[in-house]
Amino acid sequence: MSDPIVVEDIRPLLALIAPWFGLIGIMLAGEKRANLRELITFSAASVQVAVVLSMLPLVLGGSIIEFHIWQIFSYVPMLLRVDGPGLLFALVASILWIATTLYSIGYMRGLHEHAQTRFYSFFALSLSATMGVAFSANLLTIYFFYEMLSVSTFPLVTHMQDKEARTGGRTYLGYLLFTSLCLLLPALSWCYIWLDGGQMTMDFLADTGKIGYFSETTQIVLLFLFTYGFAKAGLMPFHSWLPGAMVAPTPVSALLHAVAVVKVGVFCVYRVYADIYGTEVLSKISGEEWAMILASATILISSLIALSQDNLKRRLAFSTIGQLGYIILGAAIATDRGQGGAVLHIAMHACGKITLFFCAGAIFVATGKKYVSQLRGLGRRMPITMGAFMIGSLSVIGLPPLGGFISKWYLALGALDRDAMWVVAVLLISSLLNVFYLLPVAVTAFFRSEDSEEGEESIKEAPWPCVVPLAFTALGCFALFFWSDALLKLAGVTP
């Protein structure tokens, strides 16, 4: 691969600080001018999408965009760099932010939630951090934004301010900060002191594979520290924060805990596997086999747990854990196609899963129901919602012509590239399990006769701001399948 052309440009920073301006505007508008506040959120999101999109041609043309913000240490800059996978992730996150904003308006107003200003403010902050992670050019920069994201999502998770929120918030921060401060920070420190005489930047582009200077044991230990240190990736046994965080309002669960936060975790892991270790080093050390096994175990176990969950959001949460396992698995396969599949899966799963969460939220807004067993016959009353749920489920399961198929396809190809048949088997089994825990929801809703309870007659679709985004993302699942060329190119996969 020829060296990419490096372009100095401020646009990555703009994408980063657009939410900050949004934040100030949101704060100033306040609770009294709700419409203005939402308008500001919209415009911040639109600006972000526009900025990210405007970088697309350049990156597709083979160049990368860099922007130097600040010198963290004398030898480590805080450097933003837009390359294919980063841009893909940023695109997904920022486009879905717009959808989520619209959805939040319906959801939050529909439920008459409190402290909406705080909600929108911290939402914007989280998106800024997400952009930061997507565009980071070295390990320390990514760590900074990673921590910023942990802290800025805490008020969102504990939005309900009650006992449940406390438990959820404690688990959330406990896991995330424990892993990042106690596992990740020493690992980072270790790399930065010992490599290159302590003059190492751990740049994703320039320093790939340098970790091979360490002894094999050190490499393996570091690999584990990194994998578990980025606990947002939800790899078992550090996954319990994700179901715990489901106490948050649904838009938060949808965007942050199906797209932004968890994807930040897997994206970081991907960066470590693909750009710090690099396929070469990674396939030489035996630790990555273990990473694959752990990821596979996570996939299977979480799918099994998901089967037993009746609470719809918890079921989706465990499904998310499993799907994150795919991405880590793909990154750990250490072949170009496997890692490309991992990147693709970030986008594909995001689109599918956010649809499912939107639907769950819409059902809650319209009916107040949270459990799968309560959904009987709902399909006829809320056809759009449940139809979208069906599409989302199929995409997550991985059936063509939906986006989920492509990423799983490349994951399997990647596994075949290194003759890991058992990985393919894991993929197949887990897809089957996906069918078992996702399809019954839609099937229950459409084909089971409803309980004839009092007051059920009035149930109809959720408010339009809820329904439009979920229809949009459901259609997005198709779109991702048919227009996957650009994505493939961004992910660095040759079809």
Partner: protein, 519 residues
């Protein structure tokens, strides 16, 4: 300005005397005089740092009384030496001093009525003492200045609540023991070296090969233990929490960020400049067991902090834990550990200042700092809370606050010298800090009481009246110092390289191990 280093102590010294005299003219003058003289001192501190940075060997010598340095070992008079370390720490002392002086107006009028003049006077003498400790180059003069700082401390603490007197008594006894041990140690040094100048002592030690001398070893132990007592290192910490909690608010704001940190500075000064690296680390056995003591200290202090239900008391134990960090940073014996330790002195001063100023405001507005009284403070005083939690995040070590960077160097140091026990305990206490501060955030943010009972009616109702959650920010004279302190925490974090460069320039004069490097 040629005599900037002298103005550092002249301003607060004369200021304090004039404040003490202001009662004969108009008591209202006390506050402005204090603020003005502290501002002057801060300016002198900045000048001194600039001069030290500009001078060729990165230090300036100021000879009090005008006696020359020519005579071996280093002259007959008293020397003030501002190398980069000294002038950095002195600058922090003066900066904290100015902020606390500005902050103190309302608290002093309320808590120590009719004693404002004496209060401000003692406060400025305290700062004189602490800044002097940083700058002096003479082992005995250091003792005198320690006494100045300690006595003013006793006075300032004892002016607090009813129980302050007993707390002061404990502090006084322990502090006196510590100072006496230090004095004995200096006496022994003089017996064996015949000089009191710090650099002179080191020169004689090196020239006469005194490393094996029993007297020197005992002197090292006496001085070391004396300073450990003064800095409230764990088994000797008993005086600190009571003293800081019962003291008047501004006293704790002034003493908490400075006293322990300045004593750690003294330890570093003793280890590097007086005894020398070789003697301290190679000829004594402290290196092998000090980190283990540090481990015990940090763990115990962390648990004690966890068991508190009152902000000021929690912060006091937190300081004890932080002292453990810094002492550990010195005794893991390497270059990065010392950078971390020195940087942590600076950042810890800033962040503890933040926290104590914030706690003082909470006390002023809510009349309590107990955890139960904190609900809804975010909507009541958002700016104060932002400042307070910037301090908290820095203590946890979240980027980009300065606490992250000092912790980074401490971790690096622990790794380079292979002191895993220190590293693990650092991680452990970081988690404790996370728990401490997010528990506080929970208590402020959530409508849940300690046992987990929901208090409000859901939907963010905190179970408080409208009156209690109304926007009611702290007075500007308190808010501005807090915000300046908070932004200093961030600024030092962002410009950490500027600070670290100075520390590195300072440390390059000493022969410290930097660890083996791969490649």
């Amino acid at each position: 300005m040629e005599n900037a280093i002298a103005w550092i102590f002249i301003f607060p010294l004369f200021g304090s005397v004039f404040v003490a005299l202001s009662r004969y003219v108009n008591i209202k003058l006390a506050y402005p005089i204090s603020v003005l003289s502290m501002a002057g001192a801060l300016w002198a501190g900045v000048e001194t740092l600039k001069q030290a940075m500009a001078s060729p060997n990165h230090e300036i010598s100021y000879l009090l009384g005008g006696w020359t340095l020519d005579l071996y070992p280093r002259g007959v008079g008293i020397e003030f030496r501002a190398d980069l370390l000294a002038s950095l720490i002195a600058l922090i002392v003066l900066g904290v001093g100015l902020l606390v002086t500005v902050y103190s107006k309302i608290h002093v009028e309320k808590e120590t009525p009719n004693k404002e003049a004496i209060y401000y006077s003692l406060m400025m003498l305290q700062i004189t003492g602490l800044a002097g400790i940083c700058l002096t180059g003479d082992a005995f003069n250091l003792y005198v200045l320690i006494e100045v700082a300690a006595l003013t401390g006793y006075g300032l603490i004892a002016m607090g609540s009813n129980r302050a007197a007993a707390a002061t008594y404990n502090y006084l006894i322990l502090g006196t023991i510590g100072a006496s041990l230090y004095l004995l140690g200096v006496g022994y040094l003089y017996i064996k070296t015949g000089t009191l100048n710090m650099v002179g002592i080191r020169e004689v030690i090196e020239a006469n090969g005194l490393a094996e001398s029993a007297t020197m070893q005992v002197a090292f132990v006496l001085i070391g233990v004396g300073i450990l007592i003064k800095m409230a290192f764990f088994p000797f910490h008993a005086w600190l929490p009571n003293a800081y909690c019962n003291a008047p608010t501004t006293t704790s704001c002034l003493l908490a960020p400075l006293v322990t940190k300045v004593m750690i500075y003294v330890m570093i000064r003793m280890v590097l400049s007086v005894f020398g690296v070789e003697f301290s680390f190679e000829s004594t056995i402290w290196v092998s067991w000090m980190p283990w003591l540090v481990v015990i200290a940090i763990v115990c202090a962390a648990f004690l902090a966890l068991s508190q239900r009152e902000i000021k008391r929690m912060l006091a134990y937190l300081i004890v834990a932080e002292v453990g960090y810094m002492v550990g940073g010195v005794w893991i014996y390497n270059y990065y550990g010392l950078i971390g330790s020195i940087f942590h002195i600076i950042s810890d001063a800033c962040m503890t200042l933040c926290l104590f100023l914030g706690a003082g405001i909470i006390l002023h507005k809510c009349k309590t700092t107990h955890f139960d009284g904190l609900r809804g403070l975010f909507s009541k005083m958002p700016l104060t809370m932002i400042g307070f939690f910037i301090g908290g995040f820095s203590i946890i070590g979240l980027p980009p606050t300065c606490g992250f960077f000092s912790k980074w160097y401490l971790i690096t140091g622990g790794m380079v010298s292979g002191r895993w026990e220190y590293l693990i305990v650092l991680m452990f206490s970081t988690m404790v800090m996370v728990i401490l501060f997010f528990r506080l955030i929970e208590r402020i943010h959530l409508a849940v009481d300690e046992s987990g009972k929901n208090l409000g009616k859901g939907h963010g109702d905190l179970g408080l009246t409208k009156e209690q959650t109304r926007f009611d920010e702290a007075p500007l004279v308190m808010l501005i110092p807090l915000l300046i302190a908070a932004s200093t925490v961030l600024i030092i974090g962002v410009y950490n390289q500027e600070v670290v460069n100075q520390i590195e320039t300072f440390l390059q004069a000493y022969d410290l191990p930097t660890g083996v490097v791969y490649k």
